[in-house]
Amino acid sequence: MSFKILTGDEAVAWGAIHAGITISTAYPGTPASEIQETIASSGTGTKYVWAVNEKVAYENALGASYANQRALISMKHIGLNVAADPFINSTFTGVNGGLVLAVGDDPSMYSSQNEQDSRFYAQFAKTFSMEPSDPQEAYEMTMEAFEISERLRLPVLLRLVTRLCYGESPVHLKENGKGKNELKLEKDVRRWVVVPSHARMLHKSLNEKQKVLEEISENSPFNSMVLKSKKRGIIASGIAYAHAMEHWDGETSVLKIGTYPLPMKMIRKFMDYCGEILVVEEGEPIIEKALAELSPKVHGKLDGTFPRQWEMTPDLVAKALRLPYSPPTPVENLPPRYPTFCPGCGYNFTFKALKKINPQVITGDIGCYSLAVFPPFEAMDTTVCMGASIGMALGLAYVGVKKPVAVIGDSTFFHAGLPAMVDAVHNNADILVLIMDNELVAMTGGQPTPASADEGKTPVTLEQVLTGLGVTFDVLNPYRPEEELLAKFKEMLEKPGPVVLISRSPCITEAKRRAK
């Protein structure tokens, strides 16, 4: 055993490496990107792939699992919306090699569009999930998740949250990990081809597995109970357990939850023992709902003891337990600090020009360029999810809005803009697509796009793709004088049908980082 100071993300990466993964696949997204970054820089030579989007990342890992290899997939919570289709169906097919899906939820939305709770996805897909409370547990759970995955032949979901992902503490690591599985192809079309006749049987066998899932949860060392006071008990899961324990008086009974489906036998025993119960969990009141059916003595988010939205904190626990809590009043009227484009970034000039052109409507997308919504630009009317800029511009054009402008980044274009672009051409939709090409995924820390010419990769350029689609396009250099930018915008807007303008300026922050 050795020990290292690790964040939750790093601990998951090392857990996967020590569990003998052959491959790690991911699409970047805060707070989960650092899982794959850690594997990439681990010096272990573990293969890793930045897929074009989360769905493809999931399918890559499932393919590896089919060949009996262990695979890790990591993404942020909303990435699982994109990967939901293969994820859910893979609980029907099951897996061969262990398959673990690490998902980073973002309660309080420090860097996200929503704060959905990934535990629902595991429930929905009827598979096993685990929720670590600190980096040590993240490491151990990840290794155990691979064992459980192979035992159940199901993908296992690791639910992480921002504070776990970016919280750091010492972790005891094993000296040696497990070796890799043998590469083998065992074909079984009744499992792996989900035509209706097969799928019907697969759903039955998935339902039959549920008893085993419950049994594993019931016996898992990651769930534990301290029975003390009969008056009051706390049930807490994941990082919320750490927040609750911060205020533990040494007397209150505590049930710690780390695995799902919930260990209901254990919970019943705890509830029979204790009077009033406080449920402390991050995200939706999932545990609380299960308990509220058993007893009216349960307190949490449903009865207003805790707020329904935003992250759990030790502060909220203190208030719920009526402990002394009186922070100083905040200092008012401070100058705000808006995040904005880095000085010198080409985005500054493109958006300044676009604002002057003042199109009727600008549908936006997700990336650094989303910051154009703030002053001084205020040049973005919508931002919904990756790829939505083009899809929504199409809808606007279909109902008669004149030349909507869709603004989308290069990585986002490949991720989810491409299918909508195909529709734009096919339907001859009258839109302008402005691709903000900084030649990488900037917002999440500089990961490569499919156009990158990294060693051993074949660049798939925007020009190649657009030429293949047969759409009119041009390239804009945002560092040229503003009259030139304005003239180019006007010229493109006058052309009928779908047109694409690529504003190209390599990310300067990343260039600086690499120069260091």
């Binding site: 100071i5 805060t30 420090y110 860097s111 600190d134 921002t162 504070r163 970016y166 919280g167 750091e168 503490s169 010492p170 990082i239 750490a242 927040h243 324990m245 911060e246 533990w248 904190t313 030790p314 502060d315 203190a318 809590y325 009186s326 922070p327 100083p328 009043t329 905040p330 200092v331 401070l334 100058p335 705000p336 600090r337 808006y338 995040p339 904005t340 484009f341 880095c342 650094c368 910051l371 001084p376 922050t509």
Partner: protein, 187 residues
């Protein structure tokens, strides 16, 4: 139970995360339990960055409660004021009086006045870092300043600094010494 909770406020590019890491490593080297966490959302794009370091015999939550921090370290006065709520009744705020660029216009004198009224210990961290020969080392100046109050040996800081800062070692040690010297004039 003994504990030391440190909140570090600043903006992207000021070395907030490094400062938190150096405090963490120093505390660990002295045998304490430590948890560190950070929120750096849009740090690279000039946004606020907040680190929390919790030091004690046993630490559960990585988060510091409002009204309970023992130290509020500010790499920038506005960001320090923005996080004033963290400070506990006996807590000390050690804050740079040098402002980070912000396109929003405001009166710097009013901000500093507010900081003084809340008993912030203000030191010109950036000016001192420049004097030490490394303008990026304002974070190390603040480390030197807080070292005056933390229960760790000087030799431990020195060892941690040498092991973790490969470049500009001389300048950083100087920045540390200047911060420590400056705070003694105020405290």
């Amino acid at each position: 139970m003994k504990k030391i909770d440190v909140v570090i406020a600043g903006v992207g590019g000021q070395g907030n995360l490094l400062l938190a890491k150096l405090i963490t490593l120093t505390a660990l080297a002295e045998g304490w339990a430590v948890k560190r966490s950070e929120i750096k959302g849009l740090a690279q794009r000039g946004g606020s960055v907040l680190s929390q370091v919790r030091i004690g015999e046993k630490i559960w939550s990585p988060l510091i409660e409002l009204g309970s921090a023992d130290f509020l370290l500010g790499l920038e006065p506005v960001e320090a004021l923005r996080n004033y709520q963290f400070l506990g009744p006996q807590g000390k705020a050690i804050v740079s009086s040098n402002f980070a660029p912000n396109p929003i216009k405001f009166s710097e004198e009013e901000i500093l006045e507010k900081a003084r009224s809340l008993n912030f210990l203000l030191i010109p961290a950036l000016d001192l870092a420049k004097k030490a020969g490394s303008p990026q080392s304002a974070n190390i100046v603040i480390l030197g300043a807080v070292s005056h109050f933390l229960p760790f040996a000087l030799s431990t800081y020195e060892k941690v600094l040498k092991e973790n800062l490969k470049r500009l070692q001389e300048e950083n040690l100087k920045a540390f010494a200047l911060g420590r010297e400056e705070i003694q004039k105020l405290a």
